[in-house]
């Protein structure tokens, strides 16, 4: 009875699936429930809104548990990793902060997934026709493929993480740089990263006591918002020049008229 209920909920998708997951896991784990396509469905739960919902920490606790097995096929793990890194591109900082340690732990646990972040030249150069092709013009990963075994993620690379190394929040950027360092850490404790929100991150930023005087800008600003009248019209210049100057002043603010 309960199994049917949970399975139905799980298949329903969205937040209900997330919530059903826990119960389902208990059944599988303790009552020997045989559940087909469990990972496939889990994979499909990673959708565009996942990182933005409030159940993410609860969900990722479970995901961490499910993916902690070392007996999973590499293709599956790679698919998960790639999907998570793809999602991290659109997620808020607190979401990225969950994903990065999770990906790190997965790569650490499955060293064959290292090709996702490190694909040396030699391996690539041996293509079918013998040519040296080291450029992947299209990402081989298929995002919309529902089956994680067929998503071809293992042939891809995690460019998203490289991009995130340049995230606006320094903490996230630093965290994303762990993939550049040696894999010395056995694993990250995910609990440290799960419960963050904008508010907590903000508090952490503002409550830091500055050690030294803050850096100041050295270019003197001319205006807050560019206004055409701001230009000195006393000197007579021809219209073309005027336009050029206007353009240089309005640079970056073309879409507004002040």
């Amino acid at each position: 009875m309960l199994m049917d209920y949970l399975t139905e909920s799980y298949n329903a998708g969205g937040v209900i699936s997330l919530l059903a997951l826990n119960g389902l896991f208990t059944l599988i784990h303790e009552h020997n429930l045989d559940y087909p396509d469990f990972y496939r469905k889990l994979y499909n739960l990673f959708d565009r809104n996942l990182m933005h919902v409030k159940y993410r920490s609860r969900f990722f606790r479970l995901v961490d548990l499910f993916l902690s097995s070392t007996h999973l096929p590499v293709q599956l793990v790679a698919s998960f990793i790639k999907r998570m890194s793809r999602l991290s591109l659109t997620s808020p900082p607190h979401g990225i902060v969950i994903l990065i340690p999770l990906i790190y732990n997965l790569i650490r646990r499955h060293p064959s997934c290292m090709v996702l972040i490190h694909r040396p030249y030699e391996i690539n150069s041996r293509t079918v026709d013998g040519g040296h092709v080291n450029i992947i013009s299209e990402d081989p990963y298929i995002f919309d493929e529902p089956d994680p075994m067929n998503s071809n993620a293992i042939a891809s690379s995690l460019w998203e993480l490289k991009t995130l190394q340049n995230h606006y929040l320094p903490n996230v950027a630093t965290l994303a740089k762990i993939f550049q360092d040696k894999f010395n850490k056995p694993s990250y404790d995910l609990e440290d990263f799960l419960d963050h929100t904008y508010a907590t991150l903000f508090e952490a930023e503002t409550s830091k006591k500055p050690k030294k005087a803050p850096a100041l800008a050295f270019e003197k600003p001319k205006f807050v918002f560019p206004v055409c009248e701001n230009i000195n019209i006393t000197e007579q210049i021809d219209a073309e020049d005027q336009e050029l100057r206007n353009a240089s002043i309005m640079k970056g603010w073309e879409i507004f008229r002040f």
């Binding site: 969205g14 937040v15 826990n22 565009r48 809104n49 933005h52 919902v53 409030k54 609860r58 793809r86 659109t90 808020p92 902060v97 972040i117 694909r119 030249y121 450029i135 013009s137 690379s157 490289k162 991009t163 340049n166 995230h167 606006y168 929040l169 320094p170 903490n171 630093t174 993939f179 360092d181 040696k182 010395n184 440290d192 990263f193 419960d195 963050h196 929100t197 904008y198 508010a199 907590t200 991150l201 930023e205 503002t206 500055p210 005087a213 803050p214 850096a215 100041l216 800008a217 050295f218 003197k220 001319k222 205006f223 807050v224 918002f225 206004v227 970056g252 507004f256 008229r257 002040f258």
Partner: protein, 933 residues
């Protein structure tokens, strides 16, 4: 040496025989003749031989350590030893040092015999005496003339002093104070020290032989008098010239002051001159006496002397030099900025070295390889997160309301009925959930939040209760007044009210002049308190700006002018300015969370920042460097803006404009550092979806991309009729601000013209962001949704101009994507030296020697060496001390024995005497008994 057996005596005998000390060939065996004839020092020869024999090694005294394997050519120390000899040497040494010391202990003072040859045993007594006598004699002889003045003459410069007559010295007659150095060369040559001999010789030679000493001296005196007279003449001439100069001083002064007309002379100087001129004038008129005049002159000279001298100032720099300096300064600042952008310390250059060192510590062969450093309890700088206590509070709150929920992980109290079936609506409410947690926190600390939309603190209204309308009226009144002259001095205002009072009669154009004057009057360099004043003035100025922008229309020109002053003020008081900005941002964040919380109840109010908050964020970006990797003000501001973009629901055109403004701001923030802001991109993509013409997206699944999306579309944003509108305008900021300030009609954002304008603005921003990020490896993933959305737009419905624009933007995006895909390579992030596995194979050493120490750790090796040395020394010292005490004990025993024998002897002799006396007595008594009696 005979090696055969036999007793020691026999061996000795044979040895002696061999050495020809005894037996055949020995001296005693020689005939007397031979003896006399041959070797004269034969006696010594025998002695030498015996000595030699004695020194020969007695095998019994030799101790040999047997080596098991004899290696050719190797010398091992300590295989042979002569313990007896060693012991003997030690005892001898002790006798010479220790025993002597012991003997002389408790004895103070004493005599040291320094008589000649006393310690030389080779000298006989006679020789000693003889030598001593000779020495004494010699000594007496050499010392005899020291104080004997009679025998010798005292000399100076080889000449007898007796020849010089002191009283004829030529110099004595002259006046001391006037003639230093006026005696001519001749006199000096002849009369001064050492000159006399020559003089004498000259006298001997020349014809003035007869000239007596007195004559010479007279001549000298005459000469010196003449010189004196001449000097007096010169002095008089000088004085005359000086007087002339005095008289001409007025004219000279004119000459001096004329070229310096621009320069204000120092007051003392001027006074002195005036003094001078006055006294001069009076002198000419009234003929005052000279002494008075001189006094004035002296005073003047003294004043001049005391005046500070003009120093050469730094050379005025040429234009090129100034430009160069400026350039260098800017370059330096730019380098510092870049270092900060990379997250490095701008000052130190050895960061990379330090980093290397840090990395080195985590190698595999290090002992703490697997050890995660425990010091990062700050959870990788992410802050605390939501603590357990908070969780407990949530659970508690949930249990109270939804006690029937068995799982406990169902829902919050707000939304368990209607929302739980609608998954996507969580999206909007998730934000409120985040903040719900916070509010739970607040509840715990017994701060009730009721109607929190009233609690939101406006950035400026907390400072001043008067609303903006009031103020506008006031300003209107001010404008009607005649333009009056501005005052030149202002007090430094400490509150906004004071500042407004100052500005009551001031027109907008002159506000920046007032601010400028305040800043000049209270410049930080002028006084110490000015820093405090400016620190108070800065928030006032900021508050004023934030206050004024709430007017309608926003006085942008005024603000543009004021921002320069704000910038300069921040340069002067950076710390307090930072505090101000941070506090403002924190206030904004609090407002946002409160508004988000209340959004569940009321959806009327926009969550996006107000105009003043926009202005604050904008000014902030101009005052602080936004490209820094981490900055105490900019980073929180960015986070806050991202939160606005991510969590504020986009419900009408006003929100859209606010969001676009924020996106534009963020773009400006990151224009140098080009950091990724997912929130901004998400917002833009969502806006694109919302703005899409009706019927473009019919279902959720058809929307490309993976950005978060709520299922509810905003009908007011959908472009309905596209063909009517020919061209899109830039968004009107004044319209926006007036609506934001509550004066405008929100309906201006509800027509197709606006929507098209917004669409164009959004596309423009997307393009800008795309251009900014085109170097990042995941570029195509980032912007794929945008191009796909644009692809789905029904371009035919738009008018031609807009169609062209959209197409061009799409083309740009596609081109950039193509380019980025082409240049993309698989990641190679792990180009490290492979982590070495710990090895357990022993390390082999070539030419290993057991005596050497092969400790790779230098410090440890050093320490071990020192320890061994200490041990060795200690052992040696103990052994030495033991031997010393043994020696002393021996000595004591011997002494005691000697004493005992002496005592015994004495007792024996005494006893003998007593016995003999007793015998005699007895004999006497016997005799008495038998014989006499």
């Amino acid at each position: 040496m005979a090696k055969s057996g036999g007793s020691a005596l026999k061996r000795l005998k044979s040895t002696l025989k061999e050495a020809k000390v005894i037996g055949h060939g020995s001296r005693s065996s020689m005939s007397k003749k031979q003896k006399r004839k041959g070797r004269p020092n034969d006696k010594n020869d025998t002695k030498d031989k015996l000595e030699f024999l004695k020194n020969q090694i007695n095998p019994f005294e030799l101790r040999v350590t047997k080596t098991k394997h004899n290696v050719l050519g190797r010398k091992v120390k300590g295989t042979q030893g002569r313990p007896g000899l060693k012991r003997q040497i030690g005892i001898e040494k002790r006798k010479q040092t220790l025993l002597v010391e012991m003997e002389s202990r408790n004895k103070v003072g004493g005599l040291i015999d320094r008589r000649f040859g006393e310690n030389d045993p080779t000298l006989s007594l006679e020789e000693k005496m003889l030598e001593r006598f000779a020495r004494e004699k010699k000594q007496r002889h050499s010392k005899s003339s020291l104080f004997n003045l009679e025998d010798d003459d005292l000399t100076h410069y080889g000449q007898s002093l007796a020849l010089i007559d002191d009283f004829d010295e030529p110099d004595l007659s002259l006046n001391e104070e006037e003639d230093a150095g006026i005696i001519d060369h001749d006199t000096v040559d002849k009369g001064h020290f050492g000159g006399f001999e020559e003089d004498e010789q000259n006298n001997d030679e020349s014809e003035h032989k007869q000239k007596s000493k007195t004559e010479v001296m007279k001549e000298v005196i005459a000469k010196s008098k003449m010189y004196k007279y001449e000097r007096q003449l010169v002095k008089e001439e000088d004085e005359r010239v000086c007087n002339e100069l005095d008289n001409d001083l007025d004219e000279i002064r004119n000459l001096i002051s004329l070229p310096k007309s621009g320069v204000v002379p120092l007051p003392t100087q001027e006074a002195a001159f005036r003094n001078k001129s006055v006294s001069n004038g009076s002198a000419s008129k009234k003929a005052l006496n000279i002494s008075n005049k001189d006094d004035a002159y002296d005073r003047y000279v003294r004043e001049l002397a005391l005046d500070r001298r003009t120093r050469p100032t730094d050379r005025i720099k040429s234009e090129e030099e100034i430009a160069l300096e400026e350039k260098e300064k800017l370059e330096k600042l730019e380098i510092a900025r870049k270092r900060r952008m990379e997250g490095l310390d701008p000052e130190s250059d050895d960061d990379s070295a330090k980093r290397k060192k840090q990395k080195r510590t985590s190698m595999a062969d290090d002992p703490d390889y697997d050890h995660i450093s425990e010091d990062d309890d700050n959870h990788y700088n992410l802050g605390k997160g939501i603590s357990l206590r908070d969780d407990a509070a949530i659970e508690q709150a949930q249990d109270e309301d939804t006690s029937d929920d068995e799982d406990g992980d169902e829902n919050d109290e707000d939304e368990d009925d209607d929302v739980s079936d609608d998954y996507y609506s969580d999206l909007d409410l998730e934000a409120s959930d985040d903040n719900q947690i916070l509010s739970d926190d607040n509840n715990d600390t017994s701060i009730p939040i009721t109607e929190s939309d009233h609690d939101t603190i406006d950035l400026s209204s907390d400072v001043l209760p008067t609303n903006s309308k009031n103020l506008a009226v006031k300003h209107g009144i001010a404008k009607t007044k005649d333009k009056c002259e501005l005052a030149y001095t202002f007090p430094c205002p400490t509150t906004l009210a004071e500042f407004l009072k100052i500005l009551q009669d001031v027109e907008d154009e002159d506000v920046h002049v007032v601010v400028h004057r305040i800043r000049v009057l209270h410049h930080i360099k002028l006084s110490v308190e000015n820093r405090v004043k400016l620190e108070k003035f800065f928030p006032v100025l900021m508050d004023y700006v934030l206050h004024r922008v709430q007017e309608n229309p926003v006085p942008i020109l005024l603000i543009n002018k004021l921002v320069c002053h704000i910038f300069d003020l921040v340069q002067q008081v950076p710390e307090s300015a930072t505090d101000y900005f941070v506090s403002k941002i924190v206030t904004m964040e609090n407002n946002l969370t409160k508004r988000l919380l209340s959004s569940g109840l009321k959806k009327s109010k926009s969550m996006f920042p107000t105009i003043s908050e926009f202005i604050l964020l904008r000014i902030l970006s101009q005052v602080f460097p936004t490209s820094d990797f981490h900055h105490p003000v900019v980073t929180p501001a960015l986070l806050l803006m991202a939160q606005y973009l991510a969590q504020c629901p986009l419900s009408n055109g006003l929100d859209l404009v606010s969001g676009l403004l924020l996106c534009n701001l963020m773009h400006e923030y990151q224009i140098l550092s080009k950091r990724i802001i997912p929130e901004a991109l998400n917002f833009l993509f969502i806006a694109l979806v919302y703005l899409a013409p009706q019927g473009t997206f019919n279902s959720m699944e058809s929307i490309p991309g993976i950005f978060p999306l709520s299922s509810k579309f905003v009908p007011t944003l959908q472009i309905k009729e596209t063909t009517f509108v020919d061209d899109a305008n830039p968004l009107d900021f004044s319209q926006f601000s007036s609506v934001m300030n509550g004066n405008g009609n929100i309906n201006v954002f509800d027509n197709d013209l606006f929507r098209l304008s917004a669409l164009m603005a959004t596309l423009h921003l997307v393009e800008n962001f795309a251009k900014m990020y085109n170097c990042t490896p995941a570029f195509s993933e980032l912007f794929e949704p945008a191009s796909k959305i644009i692809d789905t737009y029904p371009l035919d419905k738009f008018s031609s101009t807009i169609k062209i624009k959209i197409a061009s933007i799409r083309e740009t995006l596609e081109r950039l994507q193509k380019f980025s895909k082409k240049s993309r390579k698989p990641l190679e992030l792990q180009h490290h030296r492979p982590i070495p596995l710990p090895t357990y194979i022993p390390k082999f050493q070539e030419n290993f020697s057991i005596d050497k120490h092969y400790d790779p750790d230098r410090e440890r090796a050093k320490l071990n060496k020192l320890k061994a040395q200490y041990k060795k020394e200690r052992k040696g010292a103990i052994r030495e001390l033991r031997k010393d005490s043994k020696c002393i004990a021996h000595h004591n025993i011997r002494k005691g024995k000697e004493k005992d024998t002496l005592y015994k002897k004495r007792i024996n002799s005494i006893m003998g005497i007593l016995e003999s006396e007793q015998g005699e007595k007895k004999a006497y008594e016997k005799a008495k008994k038998y014989g006499k009696i």
